[in-house]
Point group: C2
Chain length 227, copies 2
DNA sequence: ATAGTTTAGTGTATTTAATACACAAACTAT
DNA sequence: ATAGTTTGTGTATTAAATACACTAAACTAT
């Protein structure tokens, strides 16, 4: 965003990449999409999907492109937030790269068509059982999970992980998975309904051999911070 | 932090800069250091001090260098936190720059020797009365002030703005300036002392024609988040 | 149809935290 | 000694968070 002294156009400078951390809930776990690297450094290791930022695209464009090219997910359909920018000198390669990390929340069914020709190998991993990772990606994921864990407490971003219509018990379960804690049903419902962010869809969920549940949706999908 | 397909070493890519937002309290106002630009684009406008990131330095190194070169402030003496990374395509210049913004909290007396040969013009501005600014710097400052305002509520970062020893009324005043609100003295003191982050220095401040105040210091300068 | 199983849905009492509020104490300047 | 100024302190009220247990509604197996 600025132009300054001390740098003429052809001095060498760092390259910029964007990595995306795509979170979803699946199998009652918080999971993240990783790709297997095809070349050195860290050939064969799992890593966050990422792309180099081109001259003619914004960081957000690049994040969107990474998402689309790697998973087929459209950016309008998910929650996307800039996490942090990493620019340490790398010990493992001569290349000098500044990486802007974005994290994405998507519900699992939007994510399922993960097949794309441009990608070699792609998998969902529980954030609690990660394989050995390339670069500093383990640390990046930890940072993202921490952010998610704290932000879910004072915002409505959980909606990124839920389907359009959901039961309050689905929502509670999502909180419990992310916070890694059991929550009290009555207090949870009182709190969530008290925020006035949800409205009943007017349908019941008739699945399972038990009393059917009301379905709810978020009144607005705009990100809201409370407290 | 990563190396990937689709980019060979000599494809053109964006440059990276670091801008620093140096905040201090002076004259009972929250102020920020700006420099006057000497060349286009935005020649003559006020802007955040910044530097290009070199191949052989980390982002933090670059932020530290920007601080030192522009203000003589050493990084160990201040609170420094990454704010956000801006990478929109610029409307005002052909250059393509990704800017990582850091914000710094310093107490005013550490900041006073602002003279440095490498800098043309440097000034402190109240964040409420900013001049016309270059690039998107007005928006960046707003974002930083928002962050400061919210973070001061759940962390001890206010210590960056205070001297080593201070009166509780100094601390309260700092909160009031940043939050732009009057606070209740008894409740403020109860809260702050209840956090157990402060200890009395054991000296009194004998200034002014009134009862002298106890001086306090932070037990630890490590950043602490509460709530 | 009845009993058994499972999840949905609901209210109150208790504890903790946030707020509102006023006066005496200690110093200086005159 | 008096006036002026800032420091330092406690309690009552309100709001928010927590702890906790039973009935309702569906399905299944008999």
């Amino acid at each position: 965003m600025r132009k300054n002294n001390t740098n003429s156009a052809n001095v060498e400078h760092p390259e910029v990449t964007v990595d995306v951390l795509i979170f979803t809930i699946s199998d009652n776990k918080l999971k993240i999409i990783l790709t297997k690297r095809g070349k050195d450094p860290f050939k064969g290791y799992w890593a966050l999907p990422g792309v180099f930022v081109n001259m003619n695209e914004s960081l957000l464009d690049a994040a969107s492109r990474a998402l689309k090219e790697k998973t087929g997910v459209e950016i309008e359909k998910v929650y996307l937030e800039q996490l942090y920018t990493f620019g340490e000198l790398s010990k493992n390669s001569k290349s000098r790269v500044v990486t802007v990390a974005y994290f994405v929340l998507s519900n699992n069914y939007k994510l399922t068509p993960i097949k794309s020709p441009s990608v070699r190998e792609l998998n969902l991993f529980s954030v609690n059982r990660l394989p050995e990772l390339a670069f500093n990606h383990k640390m990046i994921i930890k940072k993202a999970v921490d952010r998610l864990r704290s932000k879910i407490e004072y915002s409505n971003i959980v909606l990124g992980l839920l389907p359009e219509k959901f039961r309050l018990s689905d929502m509670q379960k999502t909180y419990e998975i992310i916070l890694n804690a059991k929550l009290d049903k009555r207090n949870f419902r009182k709190k969530m309904l008290g925020l006035k962010l949800l409205q009943p869809v007017g349908e019941k969920d008739l699945q399972g051999a038990h009393r059917p549940a009301m379905l709810y949706r978020f009144i607005s999908k705009k990100t809201i911070l409370f407290d």
